[in-house]
């Protein structure tokens, strides 16, 4: 990848929460890059550290108790971790913005949706009230909501419509990167299909890069160019869709695929992963997946696997692949 095409680089990022119960190691030494216009899926189960990663990039890790303990986040080559609060505020909404999981709670219930979209525009662009409102109306039309509904309040919209409003707010200043945190998890499947289609179309039109956080491997197959699988704060496998879906290497990724009931093949029994996600306060020694791993070796219990490139662009963290 050429350097000038790199939009976002995350290097060796670790984010921990320092609580009374101990240090929660939410994100541990993750690396990834995103090129302009590219879509990457970040997949993992509850507690894998997906949302913390997103908050880290946005500069929204609640501090205290959270703190970035190591690593770098470069956005167009600029280090975000050393940026001042003001600089971050200028970036957020303009250069990168976020779509939150729950459209029911991420909108302000006492402002009209038009005002909420215009607010972002006025913050970042020197536009009069009238012009900002006009632009808000255009954006609302773009996400498929008639401009007449600008003066309505969030409670007058259905779940799918609210998520469209959230997307409109995120896109208002044509950011270069969108971080979407489970954008369709709270929606019904037919509405999810509508919202995903809308996001794909807009992304194509605007050339926005996207980091899509989800637990759904199906959504990733549908929307992303590449995918990273997270487990216990680490990226255990990363690569293009072909790499990860067809040439699955990490036992956790295999386990995820085995757990999914399939529409095409009738299987008698699912093959779940035994056990539970480890507590991030007390991660197991060695590879964090070893207590649940069907292919666990003696050395897995003591040695942490390093990121290994098994084929060009396909990275795995597993001792069996080293």
């Amino acid at each position: 990848m050429e350097t000038k095409n790199k939009l976002l680089e995350v290097k060796d990022l670790s984010i921990h929460y320092f609580t009374d119960e101990g240090v929660v190691r939410a994100v541990n030494n993750i690396d990834f890059e995103l090129a302009r216009g590219e879509t990457m899926g970040l997949v993992g189960e509850t507690g894998a550290g997906k949302t913390t990663t997103a908050r880290g990039i946005m500069g929204l890790v609640p501090n205290p108790p959270g703190r970035v303990v190591s690593g770098e986040i470069l956005f167009e080559g600029k280090d975000l971790l050393n940026a001042s609060k003001l600089q971050m505020r200028l970036h957020r909404g303009k250069d990168f913005s976020m779509i939150f999981q729950d459209p029911m709670t991420s909108l302000n219930p006492i402002l009209t949706v038009g005002d909420q979209i215009a607010e972002v525009i006025r913050l970042h662009e020197k536009l009069s009230h009238k012009d900002a409102n006009r632009k808000a109306a255009e954006i609302l039309e773009m996400v498929g909501i008639p401009a007449e509904r600008m003066s309505e309040y969030p409670h007058q919209f259905s779940g799918g419509m609210k998520q469209r409003v959230v997307i409109a707010i995120a896109l208002a200043c044509s950011p270069k990167l969108i971080i979407a945190d489970e954008p369709t998890t709270a929606l019904d499947v037919t509405i999810q299909a509508q919202v995903l289609e809308l996001m794909r179309d807009l992304q194509e039109k605007l050339g926005t890069a996207m980091l899509l956080i989800t637990h759904d491997l199906g959504v990733v197959a549908d929307t992303c160019n590449k995918v990273a699988i997270m487990y216990a704060g680490q990226i255990v496998e990363m690569g293009s869709l072909e790499n990860v879906y067809d040439n699955t290497k990490h036992p956790y990724t295999k386990g995820l695929f085995g757990s999914l009931p399939s529409l095409s093949i009738k299987s008698k029994r699912l093959v779940p992963i035994d056990g539970l996600m480890p507590d991030p306060v007390d991660l197991p020694s060695g590879c964090p997946f070893h207590p649940r791993c069907p292919d666990c070796m003696e050395s897995c219990k003591s040695r942490m696997p390093v990121k290994t490139e098994v084929s060009p662009g396909h990275y795995v963290r597993c001792l069996r692949c080293e």
Partner: protein, 320 residues
């Protein structure tokens, strides 16, 4: 047939609201055979949970009958005996357990209400057996729900439903709040229990792939109406109703090679309050004609044992 456990006949449940009558379940009929699983699929607001609740009499039916072993249970007042034979597993393992009761108290409650156990030792033994059955370690006996993760909480919910050895269990989205690896564990547990104890399940979910995995027969609901009913394999092989087709095509599959022709539904679910006559799906249906918005389609047998409620089902699918 002698081994029919549940027979639902023209069941209706309306709720009175300030804006009019809400038709949550409208004229639904089906049967469930002993030891089988009926999957009920649909999106939020289609009446699937209400249907489950009316069948086990947590809600009273507005009209229609539910026959359990051939006896009409809607007509008689609910008895402890009916309650014992029909149980429910709830969707949300976070809000369906009393936070002030320990695991053993939660599981003991139905046993105590029904005076099943003669002595304290007997009760403790039963609780231990139940916890063992659902895969909860003994060290959790005195734990409280907030100390446990979602998967373990759902196991408590299952143990509580099993405590009285029911014949029929309504499972209302039992796995949708869980992570996929845990979801697979719970689905396997439920299948093992069914095999072992011949339970009959009614499995309510919005997830087509889960319903395909677990069900013998399936009904698809839309706004209180049943739009399609058939055996599970048949339904996936020949999906006939335009809504079922859209629902199926909307699922993102974890497969990067399958080229999908997606039918994306325009618009959203319409209001179930005082619905006009006509097909309730007409507003979102690509094939809708004038007929659809004035005449309600009847459920008819389009293929052997495969029922569809749609005026144009034959034309859409090229059937005679």
């Amino acid at each position: 047939m002698s081994n029919t456990l549940i027979e639902v006949q023209n069941l209706k449940k309306y709720f009175k609201t300030n804006h009019g009558m809400l038709h949550a379940v409208d004229d639904v009929s089906f049967t469930i055979e002993q030891g089988q699983t009926l999957g009920v699929v649909g999106e939020s607001g289609c009446g699937k949970s209400t249907l489950g609740r009316v069948i086990i009499k947590l809600l009273e039916a507005t009209d229609g009958k539910v026959l359990f072993h051939g006896e009409d249970i809607t007509a008689r007042p609910s008895s402890l005996d009916d309650r014992r034979r029909m149980q429910m597993i709830f969707q949300d393992p976070f809000s369906s357990l009393n936070p002030r009761m320990s695991v053993s108290q939660i599981i003991a409650e139905p046993l105590q209400i029904h005076h099943v156990c003669k002595s304290k030792e007997d009760l403790d033994q039963r609780i231990r057996n139940l916890m063992d059955t659902v895969g909860l370690a003994e060290r959790f006996t005195n734990a409280y729900p907030h100390e446990l993760d979602g998967g373990r909480r759902q196991r408590i919910g299952i143990a509580r439903a099993l405590a009285l050895e029911p014949e029929f269990i309504v499972c209302d989205e039992p796995v949708s709040a869980l992570d996929v690896s845990i979801q697979a564990q719970i689905l396997n547990l439920m299948q093992d229990l069914q095999e072992e104890r011949k339970f009959t399940y009614m499995f309510i979910t919005h997830d087509m792939s889960v319903v395909k995995h677990i069900s013998n027969s399936i009904i698809v609901m839309y706004l209180g109406n049943m739009v399609e009913k058939s055996d599970a394999d048949e339904l996936f092989e020949h999906t006939l109703h335009p809504y079922s087709k859209a629902l199926l095509s909307a699922i993102p599959e974890p497969n990067i090679h399958k080229e999908r022709r997606r039918t994306i539904l325009r618009g959203e679910i319409t209001s179930p309050i005082d619905p006009e006559p006509g097909c309730r799906f007409a507003a979102r249906c690509a094939y809708a004609t004038e007929e659809c918005s004035c005449r309600t389609p009847e459920l008819e047998e389009v293929l052997p044992k495969h029922y569809v409620a749609c005026h144009h089902v034959r034309a859409i699918n090229g059937l005679k």
